[in-house]
């Protein structure tokens, strides 16, 4: 991933341009102070929300603004449920030494110059922002201390800070940050290298349980999400595309649709040839959402499917079963002599497979676009607002500063909103009107026009030697390509993939089958399926060796070491061992269990996070699986917000379980066969296990927790089902293998 060229650039500005600041914080008024991002009501257009920022505000960088009235911290990145609207400002507040209850958090608008990368993905937010956010808080604190030192005519080293206050202990004098803001604003901004950061032992706020900054608006139903956007004279749109990806409009009964009650206009859009942007289709624009949706029932489109997807999951599965008998043409890695080792050891084989799945983020795709005054103004729930901005500029031939993107809270992302196709559609539709237009996808659109998590197949053979250790590992990974020889997103496999570094004779080959329907990043891409395959097969080998899986895994990890010395984002076997032991101990690994009950253990390293999970499972005579409890051991370095971290772990486990039990999208003739939640089951509360999260607070750099607790879940549960029943689970969802 691309790194911000200079992460400190935002702090090297010596004096803030007040006019630029005013422009940027124009939305920082009214409702925002109550913690509501863009509370646009019909009576109150967004532009009327602008309130001038105080000219005497102390704003030493893009994140901190202090006036006599309060402390504001700007949250730069999209909030999609991963908690960064709370955790990022907490990092600033920690180094600032602001009392959390004194802080007002405002979602920043998009500005790459001020904030660098503003995006949600790859669990990269926290590790990327950790130092810049700490430095932003520390610089502000440094200047407030300097202002107090000047006022009191004492040396700054005599001063300390606590709860938004500078303290001179020798004389007992105190000044609040609010009182100091005006004087601090006149001081030069120091170089970040001249400012001391706290030692982690001095943290007061980080690691505590802090509630989300939007909790009150959320529980009262206040407008927060993209779909909640309301503007004067708003029009409502729906967009109908060919159900087989890539089909084009041959003809449509546009004139009849235009006559329907409530319909304002209907028209055909040509695609721009890029499925990540604009596919061909028919737009219907109406006076309310229901009129637009209802008009779809009358719309008749003849699709030209000559270039459309013909994908069929039944055909590709049949082909994969044939291919599994051979090795793949593409060699990913070939260490040692796998064939010799297989011949000499005790062999185990297994064919693993997993289905395509949908993101099913609960807020349907939507964007509100308003073309006015030469500006395309957007309210979009997106994981990649900066890419949305540049894409829109290219799409309708504007400069980037003529495209304004308001970051709206997103009702789930999971990778789906990394792609801004709905933004492109909304913009091209809205460009034809002088009124704002909200485009809302139906759930059926979301199900059919997803960028799916790719399915895949693995033919594995391995062996254990006389000592019960893995002597050989061979995997033929059968996946998909959109063409050009590259695997689809989520369909690639690294040569260093776990357990490769621990096995001398290790061979992975790959075959790619053609596939047209777009695939995309889905929570912990690649890891979310490879973890299932490899961690289950490891269990097959430990079972073949007659060894306890905990003992086997710990032996595999060996002595504490970095697998890539000097890379703090590499797997560290000591950290792995610690979380494996922690999860096992807390779950009561090794205890006697009644018939039909089992424990399963899996470890997986992804996104620089070391995470082990133990699932306790009951299975009845009808093969009905109940996951009773999941125990998780986590090492992601320091914890920013304990409440948020625990929530992410619990949610990832539930998501992993939901997906493995019964989620699959199948395709025939390029069409997704599942159209809505009656055919695509999301886990409901009666099947939700208790999830216990245990954290090791380590001294290593922090990493994100939006994704890495998901991959270990499926193998932990599958291994537990084997423990309970003696039957292997090699297929996801498990409902496709007869489990209920």
């Amino acid at each position: 991933m691309k790194h911000n060229k200079n992460p400190n650039a935002l702090l090297s500005v010596t004096k803030l341009d007040r006019r630029a600041f005013l422009k940027l914080t124009g939305y920082a008024g009214g409702g925002l102070m109550l913690g509501i991002t863009v509370g646009c009501s019909p009576e109150e257009p967004s532009s009327a929300q602008s309130q001038p920022a105080r000219a005497d505000a102390f704003a030493p960088n893009a994140y901190v603004q202090i006036t006599e009235e309060g402390i504001t911290i700007y949250a730069p990145s999209p909030e999609i449920g991963q908690g960064v609207k709370t955790s990022f400002p907490m990092i600033v507040a920690e180094e600032l030494d602001a009392a959390w209850e004194d802080v007002t958090v405002i979602q920043a608008d998009i500005d790459a110059e001020r904030y660098g990368r503003q995006a949600a993905g790859g669990s990269a937010g926290i590790p990327r922002a950790w130092m810049p956010l700490r430095q932003a808080g520390a610089v502000a604190r440094h200047m407030l201390v300097a202002a107090a030192a000047a006022r009191w005519e004492v040396d700054a080293t005599e001063l300390e800070t606590l709860d938004s206050t500078v303290i001179h202990a020798a004389t007992g004098r105190t000044l609040s940050y609010l009182e100091l803001a005006r004087e601090a604003a006149d001081l030069p901004v120091p170089d970040v290298d001249d400012v001391t950061l706290k030692d982690r032992s001095q943290f007061r706020l980080l690691g505590k349980r802090i509630g989300g900054v939007d909790n009150t608006p959320l529980v009262t139903g206040a407008p927060l999400f993209g779909i909640d956007t309301r503007l004067p004279q708003l029009l409502y749109a729906t967009y109908v595309k060919c159900p087989a990806r890539g089909g084009e409009v041959e003809s449509a009964n546009i004139d009849a649709v235009k006559q329907l009650p409530g319909v304002v206009d209907a028209f055909v859009l040509e695609g721009n040839g890029n499925s990540r942007e604009l596919l061909p289709g028919v737009a219907i624009v109406a006076v309310d959402t229901w009129s637009a949706f209802k008009a779809r029932a009358t719309l008749e489109v003849v699709w030209d499917e000559s270039r459309a997807a013909k994908d069929s999951t039944s055909s590709t599965r049949a082909r994969a079963l044939e291919l599994a008998r051979t090795e793949g043409d593409d060699e990913i890695v070939d260490d040692g002599d796998v064939e010799d080792a297989l011949a000499e050891g005790k062999q185990v084989s297994g064919f693993y497979e997993y289905a395509f799945v949908s993101h099913a983020q609960l807020e349907p795709q939507n964007t509100t676009a308003w073309w006015h005054d030469g500006i395309m103004e957007l309210w979009a729930p997106t994981q990649s607002p900066q890419r949305a901005q540049s894409m829109v500029a290219d799409l309708i031939d504007l400069d980037e500063d003529e495209v304004t993107v308001h970051q709206m809270r997103a009702g789930g992302g999971f990778g789906r909103r990394a792609i801004n196709d709905v933004v492109a559609e909304a913009v091209v539709i809205a460009k034809r009107f002088d009124r704002p237009v909200k485009l809302t996808w139906k759930r059926e659109d979301d199900m059919n026009f997803d960028f799916f998590r790719a399915g895949g197949f693995h033919a594995l053979t391995g062996a254990v030697d006389a000592d019960g250790r893995i002597s050989a590992w061979r995997n033929h990974f059968i996946s998909f390509t959109h063409g050009g020889g590259r695997p689809v997103i989520g369909g690639s496999i690294r040569s260093s993939i776990d357990p490769g570094p621990f096995v001398d004779n290790y061979r992975i080959t790959q075959t790619l089958m053609p596939w047209q329907t777009p695939c995309g990043p889905w929570r912990a891409p690649g890891s979310n399926v490879i973890a299932f395959v490899h961690q289950c097969f490891l269990h097959e080998l430990s079972t073949a060796a007659g060894r306890d899986h905990l003992e086997f895994l710990l032996d595999l990890m060996g002595e504490p070491r970095w697998l890539d010395e000097g890379n703090a984002r590499a797997l560290n076997t000591g950290r792995a061992t610690a979380v494996i032991k922690l999860a096992a101990e807390k779950a009561g690994w090794g205890r006697a269990l009644p018939d039909g009950r089992g424990l399963g253990l899996a470890f997986y390293f992804s996104h620089a996070a070391h995470i082990a999970e133990v699932a306790e499972v009951s299975v009845d005579a009808d093969k009905r699986v109940t996951v009773e409890r999941v125990t998780v051991g986590v090492d992601v370095g320091p914890i920013i917000n304990l409440s948020g971290a625990e929530n992410q772990v619990q949610g990832s486990v539930i998501d992993g379980l939901s997906t493995m039990l019964d989620q699959a999208v199948t395709f025939e003739q390029g069409r997704a066969q599942q159209t809505n939640f009656h055919q695509y089951s999301l886990l409901r509360m009666p099947r939700a296990p208790d999830v216990d999260a245990h954290f090791i607070i380590s001294e290593f750099p922090p990493t994100g927790l939006g994704e890495p607790a998901l991959p270990p879940l499926a193998p932990a549960v599958a291994n537990a089902i084997f423990d309970a029943t003696g039957e292997r689970v090699r297929r996801l969802p498990i409902s496709h293998a007869g489990w209920v």
């Binding site: 779909i227 959402t289 229901w290 809270r409 948020g644």
Partner: protein
């Protein structure tokens, strides 16, 4: 049509007499706390109360609700802004991740507690099965409901 929402009468003109309550609330009355998720009564994001019963507002025609008492998430807190105990429990337990389903979850939980002041865990699970949380916050939803009901948490 005339709808009673959160104790107030609203005169609403809609284009189609089969417009679901969900879209009348969101598009016509500007009450966007009630969410659109699936449109077929499978996800529960649109849950409101009709005469005190939890109902999918996406699957009921607004025109059929004249004379009925409709309560939405916006009507749950007291007039002075004091949160309903279920809302307060939700905030205290920091339930939400993305938060999109939560107004529907809160409406369903509130209806449950009106009927069963001290529900068992099984009663909670069964009553809440109509609302999906895609982020998987079920552990905390249980805790919040138990808090609101004054039930001590199971170990």
């Amino acid at each position: 049509m005339r709808l009673n929402v959160n104790g107030q009468d609203h005169e609403v003109d809609v284009v189609h007499d089969d417009t679901p309550l969900l879209w009348v609330l969101r598009d016509h009355l500007g009450m966007v706390g009630t969410k659109f998720g699936c449109g077929i009564g499978m996800c529960g994001a649109c849950t409101v109360h009709i005469d005190g019963q939890a109902a999918f507002s996406c699957s009921v025609r607004a025109a059929d609700l004249e004379g009925r008492a409709i309560t939405t998430i916006e009507g749950l807190a007291a007039a002075d802004g004091t949160l309903h105990r279920v809302q307060q429990a939700w905030a205290d337990q920091d339930v939400a991740q993305c938060g999109y389903c939560q107004s529907g979850q809160i409406m369903r939980a509130t209806a449950l507690l009106e009927k069963h002041a001290k529900p068992t865990r099984q009663e909670i699970d069964e009553a809440m099965a109509g609302s999906v949380c895609r982020c998987g916050t079920y552990n905390r939803i249980r805790l919040a409901i138990e808090d609101a009901a004054g039930i001590s948490h199971e170990a």
